[in-house]
């Protein structure tokens, strides 16, 4: 058909144009640009807390904005709310479905959410005398891999059905559906100004989305396998991804491309999770090989390792005040390090 051929030709021409435009601005890479920067100090962190309580693999954790409480999710069918300063469990939320893959703490501290193989995102109110389910967000046709609250009235989700969605928590309905990935969406990260977010998927692509108009603005290539973890830098101009291809990458939004990769020939385990230190100089990346490696984000060098878990590190998180890093594992423990 004439039109089909035309469309194919135009698509190829546009792809070539994008590659040429990226190449034209690729006058250096981050590691070369940062060659004059003093190396980050060798980072040796100690385990300060070992949080025992879950009875099965931990799949996700998320810090509260108060820098003290955190929520963790395990396939033992529970969300646990921890006081990280004392190591005590503050709350336990029994889940209808134990196949949980993600959890999130609302910025207000009033709500938490979870979801997984039930294809739903369930939101709970922690502040009622007894913890109540306030909404079951049911519209995805695939598993829920990630959820993040914008506020007590809006939440973003990523799903194995290849879409992301913005939900209105008052009506329980999807306001916007973000369509463009061709593989399961595995992770998402909100921009600091909350106007956009990035998603990573099993199509090995990361995409930047405008939250309000639902449009995919940019697509980032480079990974050769599923992207399992993604995090915006606090500056809002770049983000880091972690993948089953055993590497992490930093992509800059304004250069529209990868600016540095974090890999090591000796590392042949997939990256499951990642978190950034407050200045974004350090990247804490959790791997299938039971370790969390620490990377110098500017120079691309490994500067430390957090060893201690007896199984895959499945989740990592740094609280907003940057005072520690938390790792969660399939060994059922969470560790706090600084």
């Amino acid at each position: 058909m004439g039109e089909m051929e035309q469309m194919k030709k135009e698509a190829e021409a546009l792809k070539t144009q994008i590659e040429a435009a990226r190449k034209a601005v690729h006058d250096t890479d981050m590691a070369s640009a940062a060659s004059g920067v003093a190396p980050a100090p060798r980072v040796q962190l100690k385990t300060r807390k070992n949080l025992k309580g879950h009875l099965a693999k931990i799949y996700a954790m998320h810090w509260s904005t108060d820098n003290r409480l955190m929520v963790s999710a395990s396939q033992d069918g529970k969300l646990l709310i921890w006081d990280s300063h004392t190591g005590n469990k503050v709350n336990a939320v029994p889940l209808k479905s134990s196949w949980v893959m993600t959890c999130a703490y609302a910025p207000s501290g009033n709500l938490v959410a979870s979801g997984g193989l039930d294809n739903m995102c369930t939101v709970y109110n922690l502040k009622t005398p007894v913890i109540k389910t306030v909404k079951e967000l049911d519209a995805h046709t695939g598993y829920l891999s990630c959820a993040r609250f914008l506020s007590d009235t809006e939440i973003l989700t990523a799903s194995g059905d290849t879409t992301c969605a913005l939900w209105d928590l008052e009506t329980g309905k999807q306001k916007t559906v973000f369509l463009n990935h061709v593989g399961d969406c595995m992770c998402l990260s909100l921009s600091p100004d909350m106007n956009s977010f990035v998603s990573g998927a099993c199509d090995s692509l990361a995409k930047l989305w405008d939250i309000r108009d639902g449009q995919c603005k940019q697509t980032f290539q480079g990974h050769t396998s599923d992207i399992n973890a993604i995090s915006f830098l606090p500056s809002g101009n770049a983000f880091i991804t972690g993948s089953d291809d055993c590497t992490c990458k930093m992509y800059d939004l304004r250069a529209d491309q990868e600016v540095i990769g974090y890999q090591d020939a000796a590392l042949n385990s997939g990256v499951t999770s990642l978190a950034l230190s407050m200045s974004a100089r350090l990247i804490f990346a959790g791997y299938d090989d039971f370790n969390c490696n620490i990377w110098d984000s500017l120079k691309g060098e490994k500067v430390g390792v957090l060893s201690g878990h007896d199984n895959r590190v499945s989740c990592t998180g740094v609280p907003p005040d940057g005072m520690c890093v938390c790792t969660g594992s399939w060994d059922s423990f969470l560790k706090i390090w600084n």
Binding site: P41, S235, Q257, L298
Partner: protein, 72 residues
């Protein structure tokens, strides 16, 4: 699905792909050297506030278990 429906679905899909590529092609890009410089500046300006980079004195570490004091 009839083959006519299938080919019109394919055309719709192709149109969407081209539309998306047009959006992505039309953005302004800055040089990687400038992007890197901005990132390096951000890291250096915030380094002194980064507890994991600078280290945390034991007395200010809320996660460190306090050892009991003995008054002699």
């Amino acid at each position: 699905m009839s083959s006519k429906m299938q080919s019109s679905n394919n055309i719709a899909q192709a149109r969407r792909t081209v539309q998306q590529l047009r959006i992505e092609a039309n953005i302004e890009r800055i040089k990687v050297s400038k992007a890197s410089a901005d990132l390096m500046n951000y890291c250096s300006e915030h380094a002194k506030y980064d507890p994991l980079l600078m280290g945390i004195p034991a007395s200010e570490n809320p996660f460190k278990d306090k050892k009991p004091c003995t008054i002699l």
